[in-house]
């Protein structure tokens, strides 16, 4: 008997110890120490603040988990985790979903993607098109209470140019100055008709206060001028934002919500269930195969608009026989875009042989020279080129699963003209390496969030373009794209890009496939929300009823 009891005591002791360990780790504060090893020197101190922050804010969201409708707080589910919250340094869409509601830009894309006033209420362009003078809105405050001044715009742009991911957008900018507190002057080296889109097309160009860079908190606790203030971020609660009472549209009664909580639900099926059961109010994307069933469901609204993203693949023109335009055209003829769209997006997309979608009314160019599964033309072109028994090493990434599906459909379609497709499926970081090193016969991906035609074509197809990994080079296209950058007459500029697009499509620099729809879904109690063509997630006018 004694022995048996000892054993039980041990077992209980272990359990108690384990529980104690769990309890300790919950409450223990973490000594972050001083980092000497690596990385963003300015961000090392930030976490000390953020680890404490949640303690103050846990109460509000906790109530909302039980009855989301009770409080005026929207629970929004994201499919992936924001990597960081510095708008100038992140490239993650999940981060921008949050930051869209925290930061503002100088001007901003309206629902129809034309540029409308934001922090700048007006601007004048000089006669030579080289000087743009912006007048800032009066009485705009950062979330820390400080007034926005022109120096903040200058500082933000200088930071982006010096170290942000989007410095390339200032390619034509010579200087940014602040002659007084409410005036920003941008001088250019060449006329830049797309300047507004370049410097304010998305929240990667956000205007930030210098102090949060200096104290290193920008990556973990953003301070903007937008409709919502950042409150806290933790693995348990997600990201909590609260209403900014000093918002510059407060006189219009905006924002209407008291707050937003972004939760991260990586599994698409679970995310959908959470919307159906009412655990969350809004989800960021609906898997295409679920649109139909979800659309018919009571209590849920599916928002769906043609998006500005485009999917494509490109053949490596630095390798034979893909340097032969006939081989590229043959492949462009042999594939069936409708079939690919149906397989990869369940029809929630529009097949397109050019890059710009019809929804981008200002720049859309209707052009479709290729057939749809036209194997006869394709075979003829391959025969002309003297190519047979071709094998294509096709680079895709399962981190963007549609690329895998699309490659499989293309493989089946190209088999009809005797072309074998060998699919190389790697994770995205490897994919980026292989793309940059030219280790592919073909690669496939998509470009997102473009508005201006320069964004659609220059970097990808100019022989000097930074993303011309397929090795396309055509001096006529180069000069058209160069001319488009400085042409200030809208109609003349459109004509230049139409011409460039025609050559790019004809020569199959990219083989364009389709523009996917932007899709969000929300509970019926959510009002005042709209799925946008640029996929920006804006909750300033959203309310719960």
């Amino acid at each position: 008997m004694r022995k048996a009891r000892t054993r039980w005591r041990i077992a209980i002791l272990i359990l108690v110890l384990a529980l104690a360990a769990a309890a300790c780790s919950e409450g223990e504060s973490v000594d972050v120490g001083d980092e000497t090893t690596a990385a963003p020197a300015e961000t090392t101190e930030a976490p000390a603040e953020t680890t404490e922050a949640p303690a103050e804010t846990t109460e509000a969201p906790a109530e909302t988990t039980e009855a989301p409708a009770a409080a005026n707080i929207l629970i929004a589910a994201q499919g992936s985790e924001p990597d960081q919250l510095d708008p100038h340094m992140t490239s993650a869409y999940a981060s921008f979903q949050v930051l869209e509601n925290v930061y503002d830009t100088l001007v901003q894309p309206a629902a129809d993607l034309s540029m409308e006033p934001a922090l700048a209420e007006s601007w004048v362009i000089s006669d030579d098109n080289l000087t743009w003078t912006f007048t800032l809105r009066d009485g705009v405050k950062f979330h820390n209470g400080r007034d926005l001044v022109a120096d903040d715009v200058v500082y933000s742009f200088e930071r982006i140019i010096a170290e942000g991911l989007n410095g390339w957008r200032f390619g034509s900018v010579e200087s940014v100055t602040a002659p007084d507190d409410s005036t920003v002057v941008i001088t250019l080296t060449r006329p830049s008709p797309n300047l507004l889109v370049s410097i304010a097309g998305f929240k990667g160009m956000a205007i930030i206060p210098k102090e949060i860079v200096d104290d290193g908190s920008i990556g973990t606790s953003p301070v903007g001028t937008g409709p919502f203030r950042f409150v806290s971020q933790s693995p348990d609660e997600g990201i909590v934002l609260e209403k900014n009472p000093d918002y510059w549209r407060a006189s219009e009664g905006l924002p209407k919500l008291d707050g937003i909580r972004f939760v991260q639900i990586p599994d698409a099926g679970t995310k959908l269930t959470a919307l159906r059961t009412g655990e969350v109010h809004w989800i960021d994307a609906v898997p295409p195969q679920d649109i139909e069933s979800l659309s018919g469901e009571a209590g849920v609204t599916v928002g769906r608009v043609p998006g500005g993203d485009y999917h494509y693949f490109a053949l490596n023109q630095n390798r034979t026989p893909f340097d032969d335009v006939r081989v590229r055209q043959a492949i462009a003829h042999a594939i069936n875009r409708e079939e690919i769209t149906e397989a990869a997006q369940f029809g929630a997309a529009t097949a397109n042989q050019t890059a710009i979608p019809a929804s981008n009314a200002a720049w859309y160019y209707s052009y479709a020279p290729f057939g749809s599964g036209d194997t006869a033309t394709a075979q003829g072109l391959l025969d002309d080129a003297g190519v047979s028994g071709l094998t294509i090493d096709f680079l895709v990434t399962s981190d963007f699963p549609e690329t895998v599906t699309q490659a499989q459909v293309i493989a089946a379609e190209l088999a009809a003209v005797g072309v074998t497709v060998e699919i190389t499926d790697v994770d995205f970081s490897t994919w980026l390496d292989m793309e940059a090193n030219g280790e592919f016969d073909a690669f496939m991906l998509s470009w997102i969030g473009n508005i201006d035609p320069d964004d659609f074509y220059y970097a990808q197809h100019h022989s000097e373009g930074g993303f011309n990994f397929q090795g396309y080079s055509n001096s006529e296209v180069d000069s058209l794209l160069d001319a488009g950058r400085v042409e200030t007459d809208q109609a003349a500029r459109k004509a230049l890009y139409d011409q460039a697009a025609q050559i790019i499509v004809d020569e199959a620099s990219y083989i364009y496939l389709y523009n996917p729809d932007n899709i969000n879904a929300w509970r019926d109690e959510v009002g005042g929300y709209m799925t946008r063509g640029d996929n920006a997630i804006r909750f300033e006018e959203t309310f719960l009823q």
Binding site: L19, A39, A62, T270, L432
Partner: protein
């Protein structure tokens, strides 16, 4: 006993050092570059070089390793490449959810496995035994990604009893905490339980076939007394071993289950770190997982020594 402990702890440190070298080497051998991923598709050579220099990736590997090891010894695992947050903070933030899930799953596993395993061994060869065997076979074969989804469909979507995802800290109230915990804990608990059941059964069965059991029965002890006083004490060692292994596995974070239930545990942290090639975070997470395994092994060994004095001598 203290000599035994010192020996084991030294072995443990050596193993951790080995793990750190292997992890570090592996991370730098696999293709994919954290800076390139951070830049996304907008690649620019100057920006790339600047970022690499800033996170110290431009230094020789050996130097990177030793500078990392130097601070790791002091408990500083560096900062994340992606967001500059200390790795220690990132891991500690995830621990409550991970430990909660691990203990709850283990609790479910033991509640199922101990009675089922013992009964099935004692009644070996009967219909009851076959039923338990079949059930545990099903439990082992049922992948968590399938079981988890089925539980969500049934308990969240159809019946509406339990939330489909997320974690509610204990401080938010025990009811919410438990409601969020049940489904993920059930998902892995039943799988672990099925594995443990089979070990319990075979351990008890082996002990039942020993001569001393025959003696005990000959003394006229009841079957339950035989099991409790003579069989179980000798069956504990293999059972403790497998339970320890299961707990080590659970404390490392269960990636698939965490993803399905949006559980903010270590598994998801590690998964994101792999995708982003966030070397420092992944190194930290793997080191932590290795440490948990070794620590639990050590505890298991100490328990052995308590249960069976012969272990202490050897």
């Amino acid at each position: 006993m203290s000599g035994f402990l010192v020996r084991r702890i030294l072995q443990m440190l050596l193993a951790l050092l080995g793990v750190s070298i292997v992890v570090f080497a592996l991370m730098h051998l696999v293709p994919g570059d954290p800076v390139r991923v951070a830049l996304g598709t907008r690649f620019d050579q100057d920006l790339y070089d600047a970022l690499r220099e800033r996170v110290g990736l431009d230094k020789p590997l050996i130097q990177q390793y030793f500078s990392w090891l130097g601070s790791a010894i002091t408990g500083d695992l560096g900062v994340s490449f992606r967001n500059g947050q200390p790795v220690t903070t990132l891991i500690m933030e995830r621990l409550p959810a991970t430990i909660t899930l691990a203990l709850a799953a283990l609790f479910i596993a033991l509640v199922v496995a101990l009675p089922a395993g013992i009964i099935s061994a004692v009644r070996s060869g009967t219909g009851l035994d076959y039923t338990v065997s079949a059930a545990s076979q099903v439990g082992i074969s049922m992948p968590d990604f399938w079981a988890g989804v089925m539980y969500i469909l049934l308990f969240s979507l159809t019946l509406g009893w339990l939330p489909s995802s997320g974690f509610a800290p204990f401080g938010d109230g025990i009811v919410e905490w438990a409601r969020h915990l049940i489904l993920p804990a059930l998902t892995i608990g039943l799988i672990s339980g099925s594995i443990i059941t089979r070990f319990v059964r075979s351990a008890v069965l082996e002990a039942l076939n020993q001569d001393y059991v025959l003696t005990a029965r000959a003394k006229g002890l009841s079957e339950w007394q035989v099991v409790r006083r003579h069989v179980l004490p000798n069956a504990w060692i293999p059972i403790v071993t497998v339970v320890g292994l299961q707990l080590g596995f659970l404390l490392g974070g269960v990636v698939v289950t965490e993803v399905i239930f949006a559980w903010p545990g270590l598994g998801r942290l590690a998964l994101t770190a792999v995708k982003d090639r966030d070397f420092t975070v992944l190194q930290g997470a793997v080191l932590y997982i290795a440490f948990m395994f070794l620590a639990i092994n050590l505890i298991v060994d100490i328990i052995y020594a308590r249960l069976d004095p012969r272990v202490r001598v050897s």
